[in-house]
Symmetry: C2
Subunit: 329 residues, 2 copies
């Protein structure tokens, strides 16, 4: 039997939702703006309405029994077993909310839809999406790294999500790679994210531009306002051959490689799927990262090392959330 699910990517700016076929992928999808001002109750209402819309649309061709459930990927700390979302950083006014059960209740009450609901954090869900439908399909074990504002991670072991005892596993951005550094991230010194989260990358770039004698075209790209500097400018400048930008990406990739080396040393994971907006820099990051990863691990750990780009882009969340309903890939 071909199964279907509704996969939701709940973000601080937008909610993306799709009807996903287990075998064929996304049938149709919708994006709406997150009404952050309306708080948890308002957002759960948005989710329920979105599910009901997509469900009705799909039910022109599908029977209700074809649906395996509704999956939700959410930012912040998620207890997947209890279905609880705590203090999501981009959703102001949330404390500890039983998002899974509240959505399930509302679907029954408002929409007469009785479906199982699954919840996990966005990094895990993206990893699960890539495992099921994307760059991780061939890998039994891998780490998905999301390079964006922050540095997130999701671990797939033996084709299953590895969540850890308390559900907080995969926080690769919080690994400390320079314990005496001055960089801070949530009060912790020298984390991977403090170096190569968006802010860290911009800091590296500023320092390199200041130190450069040959000049850089980056200033032009951000109207000489370095407070507006973002990784996108650095990508464009690097594509134009700007030496400083190329050096910035080389350093960012190299630092990423150090972080991945720790994952290889500890967990013997050798496959890495790299996604997120910053990963658009592609080979500019990937090549130095793989080089550094090899330099930073024992020769006995080199066999099979690989970095590959994520394939699902900003659809990974919807795919992965739906995949939660289908179970293990």
């Amino acid at each position: 039997m071909i199964r279907w699910a509704i996969g939701i990517d709940l973000g601080g700016t937008a909610i993306k939702a799709a009807v996903v076929c287990e075998e064929r992928g996304i049938l149709t999808d919708r994006t709406i703006l997150t009404e952050t001002a309306s708080g948890p109750a308002g957002i759960v209402g948005q989710l329920a309405a979105l599910v009901a819309d997509l469900y009705r649309l799909a039910c022109e061709t599908l029977a209700p029994a074809d649906f395996a459930g509704v999956g939700v990927g959410a930012p912040g700390a998620v207890d997947a077993v209890k279905g609880v979302l705590s203090y999501p950083p981009n959703l102001p006014g949330w404390g500890i909310v039983s998002l899974r059960d509240e959505l399930q209740k509302l679907l029954i009450a408002n929409e007469a839809l009785s479906m199982p609901v699954f919840l996990d954090n966005d990094a895990n869900v993206a990893a699960f999406g890539e495992a099921f439908y994307g760059a991780g399909r061939e890998f039994r074990d891998f780490l998905m790294v999301t390079l964006g504002t922050g540095v997130g991670g999701g671990i797939i072991l033996n084709r299953k999500l590895y969540r850890g005892t308390h559900g907080t596993a995969g926080e690769v951005g919080f690994m400390i790679i320079d314990f005496e550094a001055t960089t801070l991230h949530a009060g912790i010194r020298g984390t991977l994210e403090s170096f190569i989260g968006k802010k860290g990358i911009v800091d590296i770039a500023r320092r390199m531009i200041e130190a450069s004698s040959s000049g850089s075209c980056i200033g032009k790209l951000c109207d000489n306002d370095f407070t507006r500097l973002s990784p996108i400018h650095l990508e464009r400048a690097a594509l134009e051959g700007d030496e400083v930008s190329l050096a910035v990406w080389k350093r960012v990739g190299s630092i990423l490689g150090v972080g991945l080396a720790n994952v290889t040393a500890l967990m013997d994971i050798r496959k890495f799927v790299i996604g997120g907006g910053v990963a658009a820099a592609g080979e500019l990051i990937f090549l130095p990262a793989l080089e550094q990863l090899r330099r930073s691990t024992l020769p006995s750990m080199h066999d099979g090392l690989a970095l590959v780009p994520a394939l699902l882009g900003n659809k990974a969340g919807m795919y992965g959330a739906a995949a939660l309903c289908f179970g293990e890939p």
Copy 2:
């Protein structure tokens, strides 16, 4: 049925072997010097003779069918699936040796003993021993850290050894905690072992003694020959209240805490069993390590964090090797 096994701890200096009862622990044990000069063939011969001796001794009260097998913990890279030991650092002249199969063959040929043989690396075996018989009995998931000449690790997940895809998991000593450090370990910069392996601890102590204005009694303990300085001197001096030595252990513990924080962030492991000769410094290391571990992780990861001393001392290898024969604890 009560099961028995012979557990062997193969080291560069000594071979320790015991008859172990699954329920009651060690019945009797033997230690012989490792004949490193005789190469792999000679050492496999030593192992076979030792097994035969212990087996005959035990068979005065046990039937051959009571034995689940022979387990061996060995230094260096072990492929547990293939039973191969490659380039053990303290056994000169070894290349890649099918230790498991060669021992099994020799047991049949020389001693007419047909028993299954199990092989794993010493760090994994020590972790398994603590899981079965020691400080890890109450923990579902934990990391065993062995602080000695090097810094080794073995991971227990869901009461099973976590070896990783290629069997190299748990190399906590190779995690990089200061990627721009000048310390090197097997060519890798800023690893945990480069800081708090024996050599790293002695380096920290030398620098602190040089920088100290108040003086230290360490010189006296090593006959003012700092090339002979070892962690044992630092332990003694700390017990005598030597300020510099206390500061050294505080720093060593704190750096250990940084390394453990990476394990918590990545794997959501919150229980740590600390063994090895250097761990004899006890609370001198444990307290600053736990403090640093808490400082270096998110509050959402603090629940359940614990460091406990290993309980089996230098018997962990024999216990764990025997436990390999009994299967999961």
